[in-house]
């Protein structure tokens, strides 16, 4: 199973994870700046803010567009930040009353513009002092504070006078070649950063004092090579981790991160990991017999039920209620799906034609 999984892995991260067993050089494994995050923002993804409302980040021509819906994607409006090139991806943090979108850096755009909106207002622009990481969880807008993870390895927060560095790889794991790619906040004081790197050091860190001090999540150390952004609220959190053997499992805590329990492992999917959670319920796209399957868990990843085959190329799952939600798969163009039956059924959503073409002829000067 291990070799089968490795052969099927297509993401750079997971391929690298498999290579860990064969290559003794950590520098060769994680030394380059091009290692992709496990959940890259340059793949289609969804962010739901209610049972029928949310956002989709999809490719359009050579650009990425941000679509907003309030009726389950029956209708969408273009909310792509204007006046800036978006072919480096869009990294968003979305809540019912607010949103922040960082423009992925690329080419000569070496500092990421960030646009913040409250309610239905237009975007308010600002600019990060560095480039944002190409990872879906690299930006967080919570409790009125905008934080982001930069390609320089820092976690920065926007203040009234500019940007302040909360932490960074130099402080968290100076010798571990850790690459941070996610920041998540439970409230104004409790938050998480997650990353990837060679097996050994912790891949997730937690703060309970608004970022002044950070402690590694012990359960994410050892064989883990990547931790995905956690999901949860209050004291209960789920933290998916990927190990060097090509399996993904969910760590869960019910005491705010003091103690952790590891669930049973699933083989990683052939593409970008797609997963979603709602309380103790978890949905994960993994592999079975060489093909992608959707697995569902009602006990925080302790046990899994095979729900069937998802559409090919699934890159994002977003569950909004009792066994229902939305999904998106990569392709040309990307496809949106409604999910029902606890992940067993996928029905395509027809998007307007302009979605696929509006970014085809971006401007320029």
């Amino acid at each position: 199973m291990y070799h089968t999984a490795c052969a099927a892995l297509s993401t750079t991260l997971l391929a690298t994870a498999c290579a860990n067993h064969g290559s003794p050089s950590p520098a060769a494994r994680f030394g380059g700046p091009t290692v992709a995050a496990p959940l890259p923002a340059t793949s289609p993804y969804l962010a739901v803010t209610g049972t029928a409302s949310g956002y989709a980040i999809l490719p359009s021509g050579g650009s990425w567009v941000l679509l907003q819906t309030s009726d389950g994607f029956a209708h969408v409006v273009n909310r792509t930040p204007v006046a800036v090139e978006t072919d480096g991806g869009l990294i968003g943090s979305f809540a019912p009353g607010s949103a922040a979108v960082a423009v992925g850096a690329h080419d000569r755009l070496v500092r990421s513009p960030v646009l913040i909106a409250s309610g239905a207002s237009t975007w308010t622009p600002t600019e990060m002092p560095d480039a944002v990481v190409d990872a879906r969880a690299a930006v967080s807008l919570a409790s009125g504070t905008l934080t982001a993870v930069t390609t320089g390895g820092d976690v920065i927060a926007r203040t009234e006078t500019g940007w302040a560095t909360l932490t960074g790889v130099a402080r968290l794991a100076p010798d571990a070649r850790l690459r941070l790619d996610g920041v998540t906040w439970a409230d104004a004081t409790t938050g998480w950063v997650t990353g990837q790197g060679p097996a050994g050091p912790a891949m997730a860190y937690r703060t309970t004092d608004a970022g002044r001090t950070w402690a590694g999540v012990p359960a994410s150390a050892g064989t883990t090579v990547a931790a995905l952004a956690p999901c949860g609220a209050g004291k209960s959190w789920l933290l998916p981790v990927i190990d060097g053997a090509g399996t993904i499992s969910v760590l869960r805590t019910s005491d705010g991160g003091l103690t952790w329990t590891r669930g049973s492992a699933l083989p990683v999917p052939g593409g970008v990991p797609a997963w979603a959670c709602a309380g103790p319920q978890v949905w994960m796209a993994g592999q079975a017999s060489g093909a992608d399957r959707v697995f569902a868990s009602t006990d925080g990843g302790q046990s899994w039920v095979d729900r069937g085959a998802p559409p090919p190329g699934l890159t994002s799952l977003a569950m909004t209620g009792t066994g229902a939600g939305f999904a998106v798969s990569a392709g040309s163009p990307a496809s949106l799906w409604t999910v029902s039956g606890d992940g067993a059924h996928f029905a395509p959503i027809v998007l307007p034609d302009w979605v696929a073409t509006i970014g085809a002829e971006p401007g320029g000067d």
Binding site: V82, A83, P113, P125
Partner: protein, 582 residues
Amino acid sequence: MPGPDAAIPDLGPQLFALLLRCLLWAAVGAFVFGASISLLSRRVPAVARWREILLTAPTTRRSEPPARAFLRVSLGLLWIATGLLQAQPKMPAGFVPEVLGPASDSAPPWFGDLIGPLARAWERHPVSADTATVTVQVGLGLLLIFGRRGRLARVALWLSIGWSAAVWIFGEAFGGLLYAGASWLTGAPGAVLVYAAAASVLLAPWERWDRGTAQLIARRFTAVWLGIGAVLQALPFEEQWTQDGISEPFRTAAGEPQPALLVRPIARLATVATGHPAAVNATLIVLLTVTAVSLWVSGRTFVVVAGLALCALTWWLGQDFGVFGGTATDPNSALPLAVLLACALPGLAAHEATVRTAPTLIVRTRNIPVGVVAALASLALGLTIVVPIVLASRMGGRADAAAVAADSNGGVRAIPPRAAPSFRLTDQRGQPVSMSALRGKLVLLTFLDPVCTSDCPLIGNQLAIADSQLGPLAQQVEIVAIDTNPTFHLVTDVQAFTDSHGLGGLTNWHFLCGPPDRLQDVLSAYGISVDVPAVGMIEHSEGMYFIGADGRQLAYLDDGAAAQLTRTYAEQVRDEIRSLLK
């Protein structure tokens, strides 16, 4: 409010006037050269022998086969027509952006690398380059017309082939074969290849013309060309089965200014092709194929005439005579192909004895005194070889005076010295900057988008280079950029751009921002337009004003993107500053 379009005169006419002057001098120089050769040949035995070597044929034949004479003179006239097209008013300034540029845009990147040196040389010396091109082509035509026989005639034919190859590669981008859309109608695989083919046929010994072998080659070459046309029309990736593909030549031709009588059938054909693309293309393929096969197997008069008719109709309806539009570099393929095919008309395959009844188009140079022929041939030789060599030898140095004033695609232009519109904005340090506060120094004023990822960072980088190359003179200069982005208009935005692109260390650099409406007022005052698309970067016009210490506009550098192509943006800025500070 005046913008750059209103403020800056169109220097195309000036360049054309310079071209005419240059051509006049070239003609005078060549005439003097030719007359000198002619005179010297009477008095100096060595020159006389040289004349004999050049003009004496290695054959004892006295009269040229009429079909050959027809093709030779026709090819000569075609070269002259091509040369005159190259002397059109738009050519000095328009050759790179309107001829080379579109071909380069559609072709693979290596083609851009290939023609890059030529484009840069042309942009620096548009008048010299165009003059050389005109004289080569007119000279070739004259050499062919007056070079009936002898070594000079053969040199002219070989030069025709060589020049055709150069034009095919650099001027026609391999006849349009490098990108989709090559078709019989567009002239693919390249009109100038027909010139080369005609010259090659003319190289055949006269005896082969008597036997009809040369005419057979000409006819079959035409058949092959028509066959290639049919194949190009049929290939799916050439897009001739699509509405846009098949109708594009007709639509383009219908849009060119020309007499209504000529354009009406073309417009009608454009409508039919748009409505029934497959039917029109299929009909064309059948016509081409049938004609090609017929010409290959038969040289009978009606077959050749049918081929000529197809060429004639194509030249009119599909190629719009090849000359409308102002930037045509040749009459397109159908006319030279018809000329080549016409020499295969059985009526022209006459024996030496019938030469006196040949068409009057043939210039009977044998009746012209040999001294005059020698002088004209020498004049042509001067135009073809001497003038281009003299001009080319000058192109390695500084740009033409004309190019300094206005190179063919971007470049510094003198503008009327009126007061620069005022503004008061904030720079990347948060400091207020106004036009009036900059008085006393030379101001470079440009317009940039702080989150742009295409030209603006390059322009910023070039400005930094220019500033560093100025040395102590930089103290007399202030470099000012106005933020063009209505979304990213804060101090942090322009500060980020400054820090990201190597401009942070320049004390004389000011990237100005402000409220969008105030920025818009300034941009409008300077004629800069901004468009914000639904997705992607803003689009804004580019340019740089050179404003004197007294606050008056002195010069304008157009189109930074074009300057990038020539890689002389920093040089142009630096040189212009040095010139203005003298």
